[in-house]
Amino acid sequence: MSIVLITILTLAGLGALAAVILYLASQKFKVFEDPRINQVEEALPAANCGGCGFPGCRAFAEALVKADDISDLNCPVGGADVMATVANILGKEMGKSDPLVAVVRCNGTCEHRPRLNEYEGATSCAVAAALYGGETGCSYGCYGLGDCVEACDFNAMYMDEKTGLPVIIEDNCVACGACVDACPKEIIELRKKGPKSRRIFVSCVNQDKGAVAKKACDVACIGCGKCAKVCPFDAITIENNLAYIDYDKCRLCRKCVPVCPTNAIHEINFPPPKPKPAKEQEPANTPESSN
C-alpha cells in the first residue's frame, strides 16, 4: 500500500511541479512565433530545390506567411496542389500558374552543326564558355557538356550521345529552373506546358546574321521572318536575327512550322503532321527528343 502511495505522490508531485514551472516560464518568457510557418513548411514538398526563388522550403514558407499576396509565388515542385493547400492554410488567394516545362532551344546536333575544332578542357559548359565560343561556328549553341543535366535534381534530363544535345524527360521535369540557371548559353527556357503538353517554339538562339548562322548550322534560325509573316496571331517577333514565339499569343495553329526554311521551329506532342518529307518520327509519349 505505502509503496503505491509514495509512488503516486512522487510522480504526481514531479508532474505538477513540471507543469507549474513550465507554465510560469512560458508565461514569463513568451515569444511569439507564427505557428503557420511550420504548418506551411509541412505542406511544402521539402525538396529544397530553390525553384521557388527562395533558399529552401523553410525560407519560402516564411515568405509565404509574410506576403500579403501570394499569387505570384509558386512552388514548382509541388505545383498547384501544394499551393492550394498553402493558400488554404493562410486563407490567401493563390495565383494560378500554368504548369511549365523546360525546353532546349538548340538543335545543333553533330550532324547539323559541323565541329571546327576539338574542345579538351574540363567537361563543363561553364568552363568551356569561359574559354571560348565552342567547337562549332555557332557561338550561341549548346556545348553538349551537360552542366544542365548535372544541375537537374529530378532525373529529368540526359545527354543524347548521338546528337550531343541534352534531352528533357517531360514527365519528370518539375520546372524548377535549375538547368536554366546552369546553362551558360541561356539555351534552356521554361515554357508553359500547353494543352495536352503541346507547344511550339523556335529551337535556336543564334543571333548571327542569316548567312553566318546558316553556315555554322543547318537548322539555325536565320531570321528570315517567314514565320512571323505567316502567323495569324502576331505571336512571333524577330529580334537580332532570331525569331521568338510568344507562348501567350501562340494558339498552336502550326502554320509557322512548315514555312521555316531551316526547320528551326519545333512542335511537340502534336499528332504526326500530314505527310511531310521531313524526318520527324516522334512516338507520342517519348520524351521530347531533340528533333
Binding site: T7, T10, L11, V31
Partner: protein
C-alpha cells in the same frame, strides 16, 4: 587523479558514442556540418550537466529515501523533458543569439539517450556530486569530440564522389565504425 581518470575515460576510452552506443541518433543526424556539430555539442553539454545534477538530487533525496528506485526511469525522463523545455523557453527569451545557435537542437535532446544514459550511469556508478558533474561534462565533451570529428569527415566526404549505393547513411555508418575502430586504440588506458 580520479577526476583525471574519469575525464580521460569518458572522452577517449569509453567514448559515449563510439564505445557506449549512446546518443547515436544525433551523432548521425546532426553531423552533416561542422558548425551544427559545434552547436549540438554546446547544447548537449549544457543540458547533460544540468540534467545530471538535477537527477542526482532526485535520486538521492527522493528515490533512495523512499526506496522507490524503480521509478528511476520515469522520474528522470520527466525531469529531463521538462528541463529541456524550460531551457528552450528561457533561452528563447533571454538570449536569442544563443537560442539561434543551440535552440534548434534542444528538442532533439530530449530523445538523446546520452542524457538519460549518463544520468543513469552516474547513479549506477555511485559517483558523488562533483564526480557526477565531471563525468557528465566529460561525457558531453567526448560526444562533442566524436561528433565534430565525424562532421569534419562528412564535410570532406561531401566533396568527393561516394559510390551511389553508399551515399548517405551507409557511408556515415562505415565511417563511424572505422572511427570507433581507431578509438579502440585507447583501450585499456585507464
Amino acid at each position: 587523479m580520479t577526476y583525471f581518470i574519469i575525464i580521460i575515460s569518458a572522452i577517449f576510452v569509453n567514448n559515449i558514442v563510439l564505445s557506449q552506443f549512446l546518443g547515436i541518433c544525433p551523432f548521425l543526424g546532426v553531423s552533416k556540418k561542422i558548425s551544427t556539430g559545434i552547436g549540438m555539442t554546446g547544447a548537449v553539454t549544457f543540458v547533460m550537466v544540468i540534467a545530471t545534477i538535477v537527477t542526482y538530487f532526485i535520486q538521492k533525496l527522493i528515490l533512495e529515501q523512499f526506496n522507490i528506485t524503480f521509478l528511476q526511469t520515469i522520474s528522470f525522463i520527466l525531469v529531463i523533458a521538462a528541463l529541456v523545455q524550460l531551457v528552450e523557453i528561457v533561452l528563447k527569451k533571454v538570449s536569442p543569439p544563443l537560442y539561434q545557435a543551440l535552440g534548434v537542437f534542444l528538442p532533439l535532446i530530449t530523445t538523446n539517450c546520452a542524457i538519460l544514459g549518463v544520468a543513469i550511469m552516474t547513479v549506477s556508478r555511485d559517483y558523488n556530486l562533483v564526480e557526477a558533474v565531471v563525468f557528465s561534462g566529460a561525457s558531453a565533451l567526448g560526444f562533442g569530440l566524436a561528433l565534430i570529428t565525424f562532421a569534419g569527415i562528412r564535410e570532406q566526404l561531401d566533396l568527393v564522389n561516394i559510390p551511389k549505393g553508399m551515399q548517405g547513411a551507409p557511408i556515415a555508418l562505415v565511417v563511424a565504425g572505422l572511427l570507433a575502430m581507431a578509438f579502440m586504440g585507447f583501450a585499456g588506458m585507464v
